[in-house]
Symmetry: C2
Subunit: 367 residues, 2 copies
């Protein structure tokens, strides 16, 4: 298949449509990476272009006082009969671009590529990173490979991920931890229930505590974070006539980034302290990703907030922002599109948001 | 395959071994039914012999004042590499017969067949019913087919089922009812848990009530029944990052036979009254089988208790006894073997119990 041409400088909406029409479901990003690499080499000046698998780097080295990293993933979730892209214009929604990836996140990627090709006098040195396999299990994540094998690509003073935020700056992200609470019992025939110990019954106190749990809301750098502790799975049972000897409850703790993973686990243990102390339950972490502090007090980040007229909010979901945060680089999400439309068959982005984010970032990145 | 010969009158232990060695896993009872029918026709006097599928009937019609029904199933659970049968004799356990069906319930069947062939002067008219498919789903149960299509076979004043009881009379049986308690909620991303309503959390109160539940113990006709209300399954969860919109809890109520099914359900609803009243949970019966009153005050049953020197106890598990009870016929379980060894690879019966049950029943059935 020949590599399609991309026109980076013309129109970010047309560029979004061209990227969307280049199918790139996770693990199948070679074509789009080829097209972007070719366009960057042909249509930008002063950028060093590198390639590492299906990850593409473009960066300037002008010796400017700050470096801004723009990062976006190339892949999409599986196509839901929603390609090629199409445009609609209705009184309700205005001018919309529809199709898989319009929101998550080829519109953000198009904004970055358009700016790289058209900025005359950048105020910062720039690094653009396009990477693969963000939509699937963390072990495949292209940014993870870069972090481990090309850490020099990630140097910078502030990072902007082009994930959909409806055009607002979303700062930091909450941590997420899953903990399995396990109950043991003694199996018996249910006709002689007193011969056994019912493991399911032992979950009652924990569920009652979850039901009554009042999550914390905390303000960090002007971002309000609202935590949550929720059961996401419960399971137990052997047969309809058996007292079950095992049951478990999986809880998901979404926590503000002022807690470390250790502190988050300590809090979960505190919530279930009485059951854990007397051995009714045991607790084990099954999954964990730390949060990311918003870091908006850093000068390079503060300038971005200024460019957005001070409009920003906390990010609740976990994103690759946390990878930069772990490296000590303040990072935000900023991209066109309503995140709640991502991964849906009716995924669509307001054309006006693509232009708005382009202008916001042009202001910030220009001298 | 030719039909093996069975010697009904010689020795009930040898007869047990011969029946055990005739494999008869559920749905595969034709051979054993053929062998029993042939032996009954050749080796008994004064009995009418009938056949209906793989169910065999033998009965007298002497005009005696009472009729005793002896009933036993022909089938076994799948063989667990434990056939043909074998004998051991150890200091610990004494003389034992091992193999699939030795306990459940070919020893009981052998006792019935031996008595039918050897009783000289029965005190009661006798009905022997051998039936198929007791060990599998209720819809295949041979006694159920007889009840629906040959109800005249089940006429009698007392029924004895040869299920394993360790040689004791076990009277009546408890009812069993399964109720599904369902909770509904509103699905949301767990990073924004306040947008949803967690269905799993709604199970907490019900589990706490189960944990604190104090079951009733009741005496009926001198039998002590101990009830139980137990969770037997719990389930809920969509994904590790989703607030679940549905969860359910299956409870099993084992209740004494002085409660009807309606009363049993009313009691379950009473236990969870507050959750049901405010709509936190809904309750639905998923399975129900009524209990059977012991009926030991009936003269024919009282005579059996006398023959057993007054030794009897309540039956906790549900058995085909309840079918007779529903027809107004007092019924008990009485057979050799420890019921807790049934369905196990190491299934084995003390030879002495086979003789003991034979003598107990010979006393009761003889004039």
């Amino acid at each position: 298949m020949s590599v399609p041409d991309l026109n980076l400088s013309a129109d970010p909406v047309e560029l979004t449509a061209a990227l969307v029409d280049m199918r790139s479901v996770s693990h199948d990003e070679a074509l789009i990476a080829d097209a972007i690499e070719a366009a960057l080499r042909a249509q930008t000046r002063g950028f060093e272009i590198s390639r590492f698998g299906n990850r593409v780097l473009a960066r300037t080295t002008r010796g400017l006082p700050t470096r801004v990293v723009l990062a976006g993933h190339l892949d999409t979730v599986p196509i839901a009969d929603n390609l090629p892209s199409w445009r609609t214009n209705s009184d309700d929604e205005g001018d919309m671009l529809h199709g898989c990836g319009t929101v998550d996140m080829k519109s953000g990627l198009a904004v970055f590529l358009h700016l790289i090709a058209t900025l005359d006098q950048p105020a910062h040195d720039l690094t653009l990173i396009c990477y693969d396999c963000e939509e699937i299990a963390a072990k495949f994540n292209g940014l993870g490979f870069i972090e481990r094998e090309k850490p020099e690509w990630l140097v910078g003073d502030v990072a902007i991920l082009g994930e959909p935020t409806g055009g607002l700056i979303e700062a930091g992200c909450q941590g997420t931890m899953r903990v399995r609470l396990s109950a043991k019992g003694i199996r018996a025939h249910s006709a002689r229930s007193w011969m056994g110990e019912n493991a399911i019954h032992r979950l009652g106190e924990a569920l009652t505590r979850l039901h009554a749990y009042v999550p914390r809301t905390v303000d960090i750098d002007g971002c309000e974070y609202r935590e949550g502790l929720s059961a996401v799975a419960v399971s137990g049972g052997v047969a309809g006539n058996v007292i079950p000897d095992a049951a478990y409850l999986d809880v998901n703790f979404r926590y503000a980034p002022d807690r470390s993973e250790e502190q988050a686990f300590a809090h979960v243990r505190e919530v279930f302290a009485s059951d854990l102390a007397d051995g009714t339950l045991t607790a084990q972490i099954t999954d964990s990703a730390p949060g990311a502090l918003p870091g908006l007090t850093h000068p390079a980040a503060a300038a971005l907030v200024d460019a957005a007229d001070g409009k920003f909010r906390a990010k609740y979901g976990w994103t690759d922002v946390a990878r930069f945060s772990a490296l000590g680089i303040p990072a935000v999400n900023l991209g066109p599109g309503d995140p709640s439309l991502a991964h849906r068959a009716d995924e669509r982005v307001p054309v006006a948001q693509i232009y708005a984010v382009t202008e916001l970032l042009r202001t910030y990145l220009s001298a």
